[in-house]
């Protein structure tokens, strides 16, 4: 079966090369039979990559350890759930997944837009084929998942224990889906530039794709944070590791695009900027993988460095030349259709919102690459870690939070003083009351006070929009309040879904601000001994060590340390932190022992306990105890954010605005409501 998979990869390689040529020729010559050939080739590529994926999955599930990839990432006693996730645990499998998802999304995009955007689709197919060609060539020539060993080992090495976590099963695919789905907007942008059809038509085709990419990236990032928090045991969820940063970068540029595209749809402005953001987002999605695979930056994720880094670098450069070269070529055709009337307008606030998002992206990019720059300029290596990123990005993040509140309140075109007064009165009042309240309870961290005050401001703006809209419907149509609210949201899911996303962002910011009150300590306890730990609210946790036990469970040998926990004298529960020594199918230890953290989580704080080790092989245990305020808000903020994204994406939501449709009509596109 693996031979069939290998052959499927080779045919995909040849077919993608054919599609690139035929797609561009079809776009240039307007020959429909060639355009059809290019489109159908994408579907065939998808079928071939499915065959390759099934072949690899079969090899994994049947323990075909003669396949190098299977031997490297699985073992006979690996749970099936994680054997499935081993598909993308390593570089070779993840390249296959990437190619498969690009071809899947490409096929869906072509089916959904069949009969529409006829001048664009051949170029779209050709550009998607370039991406598939790149990934297939990388697999075939440098990192083949079907490569066989000269011998068949009796068992595989198994999966890294830290990857044997549900978060790791869902986090990488979500990120891959986010990264790969950016290929569709990128392909449409390239197609629009090549064909010269630069009105808002191509934006209608990619509207849902950009939202989908953003949603997958958001979920992937939050799931990654959750995995790091519960699995790695260092007490945090974001370490500003280069690869974390690499996933954050396209998220920032996509967020900027989701705002600025509204200006183009509504006012016909920022055309160059929007194409630049789409191209930039695609490049940044490739940049992340380049960082992981090349080893150019030191990262905890750089476990699989190889020569594919060069493939990615070359592709990155070629894609940048293609994207930005075409943008420069079409620059004169991308003039704004209308003029800005005032900076005190929705357009103005979106401009500043874009500016801050891009500056944050730049600061993250700059900080990530600064060690390389410093070494090149001064010959001195430096480390750029969390203290740097927090210092630089906290003020920028707060500016962004402020604009998150301001944007929805200001009218399009030009806001009048009356408009500003009416819209800002209650949110600003909420902000000032919050700041005063926090100062009254002696909160001393100024950044946190500003963050919570701004959070109150944004919540005020969002609630005000919901309340006023609901009241207006209630009074005009005599609808009950819940009905009025649901219909209000249903009539404009994009807008109100966006507000829900803003609420999710506020929850995330509130959680980040809580990090200022994090405390951690290290204690050693004999069975029966206790320690008292105070939280930032003044409550006391009384933690009593119960002892250490050892037992075998599934594919691991567990050393578990237990503590009883009381808060202010009231029993909370027994918490158990573990060291896990994973075993192979013959019972031999594999990998170093890993840690399972004990977490007691509430909306106020997390009590996070790590069994750091046993003293001289006895039951005397060393614990790391962390009080992490407001971490709960990260996970539920992520859920609210995803929920808001789904509202915006939900089928049946209105499509392009009337203004946007008007802008597409002169070009002869069919822009369907609800498309």
């Amino acid at each position: 079966m693996t031979e069939i998979g290998n052959i499927a990869l080779w045919i995909t390689l040849l077919l993608s090369a054919w599609t690139v040529v035929v797609g561009f020729v079809a776009g240039r010559t307007h020959r429909p039979e060639l355009a059809r050939s290019a489109e159908r080739s994408i579907f065939v590529m998808w079928g071939l990559l499915v065959i390759a994926a099934v072949a690899l999955m079969r090899a994994l599930l049947t323990h075909d350890f003669n396949v190098e990839y299977v031997a490297a990432y699985t073992s006979r006693n690996l749970p099936v759930f994680y054997t499935w996730s081993a598909f993308y645990a390593g570089q070779k499998g993840s390249l296959l997944l990437w190619a498969l998802v690009v071809s899947t999304f490409g096929s869906i995009a072509l089916v959904v837009n069949r009969g529409k955007y006829r001048e664009l689709t051949p170029y779209v197919a050709a550009t998607l084929a370039i991406v598939v060609l790149f990934f297939t060539a990388t697999m075939v020539f440098a990192s083949n998942p079907f490569e066989r060993l000269a011998f068949t080992p009796p068992d595989g090495r198994g999966l890294n224990p830290q990857l044997q976590n549900p978060g790791m099963v869902f986090h990488p695919p979500m990120l891959y889906l986010g990264y790969t789905s950016i290929s569709v907007p990128f392909s449409f942008a390239v197609a629009a530039l090549l064909s010269g059809r630069l009105d808002t038509g191509w934006l209608h085709a990619i509207r849902r794709w950009t939202l989908t990419s953003w949603l997958f990236l958001s979920c992937g990032i939050v799931l990654g944070m959750w995995w790091a928090y519960v699995e790695l045991g260092w007490g945090g969820y974001w370490a500003w590791d280069p690869v974390e940063n690499a996933s954050f970068l396209p998220w920032l540029t996509m967020t900027a695009f989701l705002h600025s595209v509204m200006i183009q749809e509504k006012r016909g402005m920022l055309k160059k900027w929007n194409i630049g953001l789409v191209v930039g987002s695609f490049l940044l999605s490739i940049f992340g993988t380049f960082l992981t695979r090349s080893g150019v930056i030191s990262s905890v994720h750089s476990f699989s460095q190889s020569n594919v880094g060069w493939f990615f670098l070359i592709f990155l450069v070629l894609a940048a030349v293609l994207g930005f070269g075409l943008l420069a070529w079409r620059w004169p055709m991308l003039a704004a259709e209308t003029k800005l009337e005032s900076l005190v307008s929705r357009e103005g606030s979106f401009l500043f919102n874009n500016l801050i998002l891009i500056v944050i992206a730049f600061s993250v990019f700059w900080g990530t690459l600064f060690p390389v720059i410093s070494e090149a300029v001064r010959g001195t290596k430096v480390t750029v870690g969390p203290p740097f990123f927090n210092q630089v990005n906290v003020p920028l993040g707060l500016m962004l939070l402020l604009l998150t509140g301001i944007g929805p309140l200001i009218a399009w075109r030009k806001a009048s003083p009356e408009n500003l007064k009416r819209q800002f009165l209650w949110p600003v009042t909420a902000m000032l009351v919050t700041a005063a309240s926090l100062a009254a309870v002696r909160m001393t961290n100024p950044w946190s006070i500003v963050a919570y005050a701004l959070a109150a401001f944004v919540v005020g703006t969002v609630l005000q929009e919901f309340v006023r809209g609901t009241l207006a419907r209630h009074r005009l149509h005599a609808e009950a309040y819940p009905v009025a609210l649901l219909r209000l949201v249903g009539r404009n899911r994009r807008r109100y879904g966006g507000y829900v996303v803003h609420l999710g962002m506020v929850m995330l910011f509130a959680a980040f601000a809580g990090l200022a009150f994090k405390s951690e300590r290290e204690v050693t306890l004999k069975p029966g001994q206790s320690v008292d730990v105070k939280d930032p609210y003044g409550d006391t946790f009384h933690i009593t060590h119960q002892g250490v036990s050892q037992y075998e469970q599934l594919n691991r040998f567990v050393t578990a340390a237990s503590v009883d926990v009381l808060r202010n004298g009231k029993y909370v529960g027994t918490m158990k932190s573990e060291k896990r020594q994973h075993l192979d199918s013959l019972g031999r230890p594999t990998f170093e022992p890993s840690t399972e953290v004990a977490i007691w989580s509430t909306a106020r704080e997390d009590l996070y306990i790590v069994f750091a080790g046993a003293v001289q092989g006895t039951e005397e245990a060393v614990y790391k105890i962390v009080i992490n305020p407001l971490v709960w808000w990260v996970w539920y903020g992520g859920l609210v954010l995803a929920f808001g994204g789904l509202i915006t994406l939900w089928p049946g939501a209105q499509g392009p605005t009337a203004a946007s449709r008007r802008r597409a009509e002169p070009a002869g596109y069919v822009a369907q409501v609800g498309a």
Binding site: L232, K381, R468, S601, G613, A614, Q616, E619, V631
Partner: protein, 202 residues
């Protein structure tokens, strides 16, 4: 383990994962060791190696605020990208961060201040030992460039906006200013509500 943390769906999937586990041999070498030594080892672990690197008891000094403050500023050189405090209390296979911790304690014991301890680490390892670039010389570029970018961006946006706004010049009427609010239930108020609803639903 008492874990009330977020997505319960993930917890369920974790349980499902356990249920789907491939059959594990019941008689591993480690289990055999437990059975062999279970009668005479009260208070001692049966298989100490399975609990990771042996650790020494942490004292109040190990956990002192000054020690934490220093160790949060210097990087473990094992390649983990974590600071020394986080690494030594997290990565139980690392032997580098415990050694660096002992260095911190020894240097504090010898009478060095926080700044002197940090300087000694810089002399030993170079600037890369710090978790963030020290603020001097070329390193200022790291801190300043994002804000230079912000200033340039603000300048460009403002300049472009002014030019565009001036290009419209005179004759363009500003957005309509609202007058006093109409009486409740009046036709004027209904009209205002319609306009407002259009704004909300637009």
């Amino acid at each position: 383990m008492l874990r009330k943390s977020a997505p319960s769906l993930l917890t369920l999937l974790a349980l499902a994962a356990g249920g789907l586990a491939a059959q594990t041999p019941r008689d591993s070498a480690l289990s055999a060791a437990v059975r062999a030594r279970s009668s005479d080892s009260l208070g001692r672990l049966e298989v100490p190696d399975a609990a990771g690197r042996p650790v020494a008891a942490a004292t109040a000094r190990d956990d002192a605020a000054l020690v934490q403050a220093i160790e949060h500023q210097i990087r473990c050189t094992c390649g983990c990208n974590l600071d020394v405090f986080t690494c030594r209390t997290t990565d139980f296979t690392c032997t580098t961060s415990p050694a660096m911790h002992q260095l911190v304690l020894a240097r504090l014991d010898s009478g060095l201040t926080e700044a002197q301890v940090l300087a000694s680490f810089q002399r030993q390892y170079g600037e890369m030992i710090f978790m963030a670039p020290p603020k001097h010389g070329f390193n200022w570029m790291a801190y300043v460039m994002p804000y230079v970018g912000l200033a340039v961006g603000l300048g460009l946006v403002t300049a472009a906006a002014r030019r565009l706004i001036h290009a419209r010049a005179a004759g363009t009427a500003p957005a309509a200013a609202s007058g006093p609010p109409p009486a409740a239930g009046s036709p004027e108020e209904l009209e205002r509500l319609k306009r407002e609803l259009e704004r909300f639903e637009a």
